[in-house]
Symmetry: C2
């Protein structure tokens, strides 16, 4: 593309570095910012700058936090005997939005992937084990729930963590896999359907 | 969505103001920026700030420009007797990328749309007429090519400009509408196919 202005060329190049944004979308966004009042662009750049410079991570669970210890880890209303292990920050947000979980979290920052050179040392696994030995709240952890992706990497990570935790005698569970609520049997893939039969649960009508 | 941090909430809100970007994409972009080296976020915000503060528009054709008069209007190699009228800046880029046009441009900044309250006064139509009366290069304009969208608003604008230009005795043309090159007849909509027969051109084998 030939740009009429160096400024717009630079802006398009920087915006199109973002994932999923190509040159055409970047140009559309740049021209949009040009048409809006200056405050819109200022607020955007301020928010990004602050996010990048001031964001900290919780010392305990490694989730994003404005303080040294995040609001979940600090809350006295959360069940501190439960820790849910997730791959990354969006997973915490997704689980929080269900309002079905009241325990703590532990953000690994990825999953074990030998191809990408990510071993257990690159993840926050050691910190999970330390946290179980010395809980920051003083309350003992009774169960670790694994909410990891159902990929080869996720399974490897789950296996690794489970072995480490079994040594400590901690109960380990994993989130249920099965047919989504509202999902139709005939359109479900064979692996999910097969597993949902193998891992069937008792049906009670009490 | 519940955010673990005010900083990420602000960033997501500001990013999701951009057209076509929802909260989920905004969150993905914000987390991406957090994971990248700080320089990536800095370059992005710098480019946007500069774009917004320093960008100017060409005094003659109203295209984006780093100088008072843009490189197209200044170039001695362009045919100054031709002016191509377009709705907005991306149209200039699209035509420039074809390498088939060597004249000047005129960016209206929109099209006449009574519903949106955009009349001829809101557009750069008066400036087009002034430009034809007093060309900045001194060379007379012989033809105005209308490259406006084929919508009701585009047609209204074309009609309005044509009437004004006919008074001045300037030749007005419009870009050809028809079946795209490589397009198949059976899949072309009726309006385009019907018009392409009515506006057929002489076929020569010389």
């Amino acid at each position: 593309m030939n740009f009429p202005s160096k400024l717009i060329e630079d802006a398009v190049n920087e915006i199109s570095r973002l994932p999923g944004i190509g040159k055409k979308t970047a140009l559309r966004l740049a021209l949009h910012l040009l048409k809006q009042p200056e405050a819109i662009a200022e607020n955007l750049t301020d928010a990004i700058t602050k996010l990048r410079k001031e964001t900290a991570y919780c010392r305990v669970c490694h989730n994003i936090s404005d303080q040294e210890i995040c609001s979940v880890c600090q809350s006295p209303r959360r069940d501190r005997s439960l820790i849910c292990v997730v791959e990354d920050i969006p997973d915490v947000l997704a689980i929080e939005n269900t309002s079905q979980y009241n325990g703590l979290y532990h953000v690994l920052g990825g999953v074990i992937s030998p191809i990408q050179g990510i071993g257990p040392e690159e993840l926050k696994i050691a910190s999970l084990l330390t946290r179980i030995d010395q809980p920051h709240s003083g309350e003992a952890v009774s169960e670790v729930i694994l909410a990891l992706p159902s990929t080869m990497e996720g399974d490897t990570t789950a296996f690794y963590i489970t072995r480490k935790l079994k040594e400590k005698g901690i109960k380990v569970s994993t989130i249920a896999r099965g047919i989504p609520i509202g999902g139709e049997l005939e359109y479900t893939d064979e692996v999910t359907l097969g597993r949902s039969i193998l891992t069937r649960v008792n049906y009670s009508v009490d």
